[in-house]
């Protein structure tokens, strides 16, 4: 049980860190780019919201499998497939939760408006300096929301992990899989306990999200 919890938290934590690093430049670009075609990228990023997770998981199983061209560089190092590994699950979770990281950060960047950047420009700040000392601090609530959403979304994900994981204890057997398997095996008591834990966790996440938004001044009473 402790192993499952630890693995679940580790997967969600690593996924969140990777996503914050990946999503920040992507969100920045989407927020600042003026051309209409940027929304093609925006739509691609949002696809995992629409795709059924099991479908996504199945494609990932193919993409990370031994016959996939994407795996050729890895096979040189003796890695036959990334399916059934923790790393594979991280890749799957990153793709699955991508829109939940990009969208809040992009919105936060867009909410800043032009004015602060114009001021920074008149003060002769370099673009990097502007990004680090103007954009990032002003978009802080967006980062917080992105981190919480990604973390929570990864904890609750089932379909991708189900297709990609193979239920290896300590490697790929996470909490949501345990619940699914308990229901399948008619162990409903165990399923109830695990689900109650997940429910309490989800409530805490949503509550903190709303409180953050409130503090950010978007939800005035």
């Amino acid at each position: 049980m402790a192993e499952v919890l630890w693995l679940t938290l580790r997967l969600a934590g690593v996924t969140t860190l990777v996503l914050l690093v990946l999503a920040t430049p992507l969100a920045w670009w989407l927020a600042r780019q003026k051309a209409w075609w940027k929304e093609i990228i925006g739509a691609l990023v949002s696809l995992p919201i629409v795709l059924p997770p099991t479908v996504l998981g199945f494609y990932l199983l193919l993409a990370l499998g031994p016959r996939s061209p994407l795996m050729i560089p890895f096979q040189a190092f003796g890695i036959r497939t990334l399916a059934f590994t923790f790393e594979g699950l991280v890749i799957g979770s990153v793709i699955y939760s991508l829109p939940f990281a990009v969208t809040p950060i992009r919105n936060a960047f867009e909410a800043i408006g032009e004015r602060p950047f114009e001021v920074a420009a008149t003060l002769r700040a370099s673009p990097l300096d502007t990004f680090v000392s103007v954009a990032l601090p002003l978009a802080r609530p967006g980062f917080l929301v992105a981190a919480i959403l990604t973390f929570a979304h990864t904890i609750g994900e089932l379909g991708v992990v189900l297709m990609l994981g193979g239920g290896i204890p300590g490697q790929t057997e996470v909490l949501s899989i345990e619940i699914y398997k308990a229901v399948e095996a008619l162990e409903w008591d165990k399923a109830h306990q695990l689900a109650a834990m997940l429910l309490a966790f989800a409530f805490a996440v949503m509550l903190s999200l709303l409180l953050i938004e409130r503090r950010a001044g978007r939800l005035r009473p």
């Binding site: 199983l61 031994p66 016959r67 189900l162 008619l186």
Partner: protein, 252 residues
């Protein structure tokens, strides 16, 4: 105006009567079918509809999920499970009509690989090795998974192979693991590979594991539906048995 209305009423009434009469002759029944039995069930249902005029509407899924749904009021009238345990439990829990339970098929376990020549006709590859991952179904939920574990234990290879095991939550998923090549080989149902000649396989002897009996049962919801009872009768008949055997099951 009144006469038109009367005519309309008569028409509606007539249609209703017709519909009721047709319903009495040809009823419809909802059947929950274990995923591994999908193909034969479709064929049997088509024949059943052609012979009896009844309609069989099939839903496919995992036996565990179906059981949870049935226990919570799902409108299925017949349950074709992948095991014995769940129909038994349905009967014990008062969800099924007592005395209607029977084995409609016995599954055969097969060690299968997409790679030609990997699996030999005696399954010696299990001891020899030369693979990284071997897929089985979750032994707690799927009878084919339990049979696979029993087979490995009988061969004395279970402990040795445990680090290489990957578990599909259903036999369908296990098949996908092997079919995509993510696992080089694995234990699946013969019915899943009986119609594909490629790859390599070892048909596991029946004596190596407890029989994979699949049972059907009439649910309380279908107790008064002639179509539900007719379907179970048809499932026991020679025509259905021929189909079931052709898909790689045994019928006793």
């Amino acid at each position: 105006m009144t006469s038109r209305r009367a005519m309309l009423a008569a028409l509606v009434g007539g249609f209703a009567a017709l519909a009721t009469a047709a319903q009495a002759l040809a009823a419809e029944t909802r059947i929950a079918v274990a995923a591994n039995f999908t193909e034969p069930a479709k064929e049997i249902a088509a024949k059943f509809e052609a012979r009896t005029g009844h309609k069989a509407s099939l839903s496919f899924g995992s036996s565990g999920q179906f059981y949870a749904q049935i226990a919570n009021g799902a409108p299925f009238e017949v349950f074709l499970s992948a095991d014995v345990e769940r129909p038994q439990k349905a009967e014990a829990d008062g969800l099924a009509v007592p005395g209607t339970r029977f084995s409609y098929a016995t599954g055969r376990l097969v060690l299968w690989s997409r790679t030609p020549g990997l699996v030999d006709a005696k399954g010696a590859v299990l001891a020899k090795g030369g693979f990284q991952k071997i897929a089985i179904a979750d032994p707690k939920a799927a009878p084919y998974g339990l049979a696979a574990v029993e087979t490995l234990k009988k061969l004395g290879l279970y402990d040795q192979l445990t680090p290489k095991l990957v578990t599909g939550t259903s036999i369908t998923q296990t098949y996908q693991f092997i079919d995509t090549g993510a696992a080089e080989l694995g234990f699946v149902a013969l019915s899943q590979v009986v119609n594909r000649p490629d790859g390599s396989r070892w048909l596991v002897p029946v004596a190596d594991h407890t029989p994979i009996d699949q049972q059907a049962v009439l649910l309380k919801t279908g107790a008064d539906n002639p179509a539900a009872k007719a379907f179970l009768q048809f499932l026991k008949g020679p025509e259905a048995k021929t189909t079931i055997r052709r898909y790689g099951y045994e019928v006793r």
